[in-house]
Symmetry: C2
Subunit: 279 residues, 2 copies
């Protein structure tokens, strides 16, 4: 997928009606060193030259999100995560899978395009997902471009109060903690979504954050390293929000960020929401 | 690691005092096609020729489990999962990590051997982990060697009641469900621990179980496939127990299974327990 030069397009085309590819190019223009090769940020359904009737941003383009998109009169979903249950969006292994086939048929029937905006939204400066969350928490002023994943609170908060803040601001029913709820935290390492534990575990050693604020993690990797660290007297604890709800604020933030760039084209965030019921 | 022929050893050596390697060999002797190559089931601390003073089985050999092992007068931990926060137990990437160094020093100080029994305990027939759980649930009579991962209950149960049973029998405070708690289930696919979603997702298509009873899973893979399936009217739901508590019953079961083979050597299960607090 190439990103043609949009220097002379911009507002005129927005008024005349933008194509999927033109919207993508408007986004990529704002990203330093945008990734168009070696990225999951590809068109996963529909085509680049279809005219956009409305845009929906979401975390996971679930069947429910697709139905809601069609009802909203939109035909372009900008999704942070995979429609096809695997990050590189490989489909050969799913060719006999009924849910995969149903989803592809539904997208074709509704003529809905999906473009992943994962690597490039994280590649925006500041990281669009992180900033969406920081704004929700009221912490955007603590963002430090020198240490974009590490923030320092001016006043300590307990893990319990950070958990309650996350639940309230992100609309989560239940979160999981590895650590003592009464522990004070000033330095927080942001690991929304999923972060490779082979990158995350060294952070504990190098940065010694009081808390890793995580989306999804692996129990036999980061979770057990944090548990052993606490047992030997280290301070780094872990708050696990769950994947979808840990990044949706970033896709909601994209609505406000993108709207001024696409004229009167309607953009809506349709949250894919937390898939879990806690029992 | 080779498995010397134990045919003529057995009881005499058990009475005389068994070495770590002799205990390992006693276990491998009971496993059809035991894996000694291309397996994570290796000695991870201590040595094969040390005399065993007592055996502890556990899921994760955490610092807490190591301390309790030493206090119990045992010097051999049979652990299902990694001591070093990664399944192949690679250690080069951890050489500067304080928790790793602390753990290695502690194991050396206490002269505790760790042997992973992961692939071979799953390779036992029936799978030792699955059977430990089935016994806890009172479901061992539903085990079918033709479909070792799929059981069929004689009477349907709701997801809610299965979740409550799991919580009670495995001592879990909170579990997570993707699906309708009131849905009836007769066929249950056993996926304790972690199962590769590229193997798990095709099961939904091929076996159409009412429920996947899972330890740990990936949210962007199995969880989203289950969610889409339910949205299109499929019945396969997902119950996520958490990794450690989903397999500990299998390591507890090993105590009863192994005890008659090692004479009066004391074997104890020290559960590593659930690392999470739910808020």
């Amino acid at each position: 997928m190439t990103a043609p030069n949009m220097a002379n397009a911009g507002n005129k085309q927005a008024l005349a009606g933008l194509t999927v590819q033109q919207v993508i190019d408007l986004i990529l223009k704002e990203v330093p060193n945008p990734r168009t090769q070696n990225t999951v940020d590809k068109i996963r359904s529909g085509s680049g030259d279809q005219l956009v009737t409305g845009i929906v941003t979401t975390m996971f383009p679930t069947l429910e999100v697709i139905e809601k998109t069609q009802k909203a009169g939109a035909n372009f979903i900008i999704a942070h995560e995979t429609p096809f249950y695997n990050n590189p969006d490989e489909t050969e292994w799913l060719k006999d899978d009924d849910a995969y086939k149903y989803k592809v048929d539904l997208l074709n029937k509704y003529k809905i395009a999906i473009w992943r905006c994962h690597d490039n939204w994280h590649g925006h400066r500041p990281d669009g997902i992180a900033m969406g969350n920081l704004i929700k928490f009221g912490w955007e002023k603590y963002y430090n471009p020198e240490t974009p994943r590490l923030i320092t609170l001016p006043e300590s908060m307990t893990i319990k109060s950070i958990a309650e803040l996350a639940k309230k601001k992100l609309g989560i029913s239940t979160v999981r903690v590895v650590g003592d709820l009464k522990q004070s935290c000033k330095t927080i390492y942001l690991a929304f979504g999923y972060m490779d534990p082979k990158m995350q575990i060294p952070v504990i050693q190098q940065m010694k954050p009081d808390l890793i604020l995580s989306g999804e993690t692996r129990e036999w990797e980061t979770v057990e390293r944090v548990r052993d660290g606490l047992a030997m007297g280290q301070k780094t604890s872990l708050l696990v929000l769950s994947h979808s709800v840990s990044e949706e604020a970033g896709m909601e933030y994209m609505v406000h960020w993108l709207q001024p760039k696409v004229g009167n084209l309607k953009i809506t965030n349709i949250p894919s929401g937390n898939p879990f019921t806690f029992v």
